[in-house]
């Protein structure tokens, strides 16, 4: 859901499903190397990219790896060697990459990956929830959640810029089947406009005084100026490096914002605010905060309830990592109650991952809203309108002293 149309640029309206929208973005973004392994519901992305490459419509090397573990490993190697690298996966594929997620982020390697959100086994289930990317939340990747196919397209294009300017890998997520497999009208920018926006991969230059003196050298695998990537780092440096990595991640906020602003200028689709998108919140008493495609349904219920005179609103979080805690504190402090939608369970935890994070961000405020957690939609379970209404009703009547438990399951049979 883009907030405003800035200006009209000539774009083609195409009927694409979310996976195809991602593939189109990759095709237009001067990607040098794609390595990927199929998994439902991501498969269409790699199928379309294969077609583009095999038809000569896309000038990239496609590495048909034998596993997701190798998919990310090869993308890492390619990015380190100076290429713009892309891969895509879902659920078990992402879980198989777990080790390499951390390595990619901690070596500050700008890989872009589309993750089509899907429930994790067992039992095996191909439908949507966020257990896969939430499991990867601490791995050091920027995570941008898309609401629809248009956003999946836009986010993928922006991701290349964000990754390369911040030196962080970026995960663009889209909900399995809900977005990946349903057709939508997607405004597709002209090839040359995207190509110019993303440019070709530029290699930053750094100084390594002890090895290469004062010379600024390209940060890549390069025999002219060799660099050692991925060394052993013991207790004398590791901690500092991790703290630096975390601080660097916080510095990506302005980069993410700037890239969105510049993208708005070429596409006419403005994502402002970038990190969380409010809907009818100005005078709202209570809001539902959540991620991805579910929030378009929630907005519909907001409209219904507003017409009944109820002061409700909604906020969609677009960027979950880095976590925009400051934005959230500003946005949420005045509400009576906030219902957090978590499409993920944290076994043995005190609520889902979004809830614990939101509550933790708000805890220090002198005045803060009541926060309830609503875990929903696991394994593709529907969240009908009636249940969203019920959540709003609960929030409207929530007492200042929150009832226990504050964590509920909505849409589950007892």
């Amino acid at each position: 859901m883009c907030m405003a149309i800035l200006k009209k640029v000539e774009q083609t309206m195409m009927a694409l499903n979310g996976d195809e929208a991602v593939a189109w973005a990759v095709k237009q973004s001067n990607v040098d190397v794609v390595s990927a392994y199929p998994i439902t519901p991501q498969t269409i992305i790699v199928e379309r990219i294969s077609e583009f490459v095999n038809n000569g419509e896309m000038d990239a090397e496609f590495i048909h790896v034998e596993s997701e573990h190798s998919a990310l490993s090869a993308a890492w190697g390619a990015a380190l060697a100076g290429a713009r690298a892309f891969t895509a996966t879902a659920a078990n594929g992402l879980a198989l990459m777990w080790e390499i997620l951390y390595i990619t982020a901690s070596t500050r390697t700008p890989v872009v990956m589309a993750v089509v959100n899907r429930a994790l086994s067992a039992p095996i289930n191909i439908h949507n929830d966020h257990s896969d990317t939430m499991g990867a939340r601490d791995s050091g990747w920027i995570q941008i959640y898309s609401e629809d196919a248009q956003e999946a397209y836009d986010n993928t294009i922006m991701a290349f810029r964000i990754a390369e300017e911040s030196l962080f890998p970026v995960m663009v997520t889209l909900d399995g089947f809900t977005i990946s497999h349903t057709l939508q009208n997607v405004s597709v920018l002209p090839d040359d406009v995207v190509s110019e926006f993303v440019g070709v991969r530029r290699i930053p230059r750094i100084k390594l005084p002890r090895i290469h003196g004062d010379k600024e050298i390209p940060l890549m695998l390069n025999p002219k100026y060799p660099i050692t990537f991925g060394p052993l780092d013991l207790y004398d440096y590791y901690f500092e490096h991790k703290v630096q990595q975390n601080e660097a991640m916080k510095e990506t906020f302005p980069i993410i914002e700037r890239v969105h602003r510049e993208f708005g200028e070429i596409s006419g689709r403005s994502y402002d605010p970038v990190f969380m998108v409010p809907y009818r919140t100005e005078d709202a008493d209570v809001v539902i905060l959540g991620l991805s495609s579910t929030m378009s349904v929630v907005r519909k219920i907001v409209d219904d309830l507003r017409s009944e005179g109820k002061k409700v609103g909604a906020i969609r979080l677009r960027v979950f990592r880095p976590f925009p805690a400051d934005h959230l504190r500003k946005e949420l402090s005045e509400f009576h109650a906030v219902g957090v939608l978590d499409r993920c369970i944290s076994f043995g935890g005190e609520g889902g991952p979004l809830f614990t994070e939101v509550r933790s961000a708000l805890y220090g405020l002198p005045s803060r809203p009541i926060v309830h957690d609503y875990i929903y939609g696991l394994g593709g379970r529907d969240l009908p309108h009636s249940l969203i209404r019920k959540i709003y009703e609960e929030l409207l009547s929530a007492r200042a002293e929150p009832e226990v438990p504050v964590v509920r399951y909505v849409g589950v049979r007892e």
Binding site: E66, S67, H69, A71, G77, V200, P218, L221, I227, T228
Partner: protein, 326 residues
Amino acid sequence: MSTWRPDIKELARKEMQTRPFESGHRLCAGCGAPIIIRQIMMAARKPVVFVNATGCVEVATSIFPYTSWNVPWAHNAFENAAAVGSGIEAARKKLFMAKRFENDPDVELDYDVVVLGGDGGTYDIGLQAISGAFERGDKILYVLYDNEAYMNTGIQRSGGTPFGARTTTTPVGSVIKGKVQFKKPIVDIMVAHRIPYAATVSSAYWNDALVKFRKGFEAEGPVFIHAFSTCPLGWGSETAETVKIMKLAVETCVFPLYEVENGQYKLTGPSLAIAKNPDRKKPVEEYLKLQARFRHMFRPENKWMLERFQEWVDREWELLLKKAGF
């Protein structure tokens, strides 16, 4: 293939000047791996980019803020070095063809990708990624330095550990004595991928090793080189005897030297000499007795272990002779 003949003196001089692999690394005295690395560097025809799987070599040569590598070097994880190599080679090819850095005098894209893994990273956990890279035909030179156990984590058995050997996970107990299984035939497994070139090398035979590495670089497609690598700590051998042990492994046919060009097995160096003159084949005891990991096999009640070891070596040698046309 290559008609290149190494001039050791000339190469040594060049190495002293460029020092692609610096001294001062923290590998053990007597470790076979650094010799292999230096031989790879000497045989290189172009600049190289090194990919290293997790293991002794990786941890001992890259302890931040130091590095032993004067060539571009990348370590990602234990089981994926071949996949990383594939990614680098794909990027190199793409950027080279797109003339991406043509006007940048600071970037070189005409290089060869070397992937280095231990026996654990090759026989076991990394096998899938290597198989994938070989099936795709990605041009990487994969070098296995085989010290026959997981040394970095403290001498546990691997698929490359020989029969009878004592490791910390195959201890010599009262019931089970050392490793029960024989070594996995890793070269045959790799050759079955129909790669253009595979070979075994022992650093004790410089000339043979350098020529094979060079052939590996020149081959059009993926290459597998199995380099034998003594580990004084894990094997319980004398540091000064590394080269002697590497020689004896060849002379006893425990580790024969051969190459496989497009599926054709060919014995080389001393192994070829033994094939022509079987009297030269030494008994395995001569090799085994220099290593504490086999000491229990010399006890009278465990004589059967020596016999089994010898039988296995003889059988494998016969198979190899057949494959090489003897």
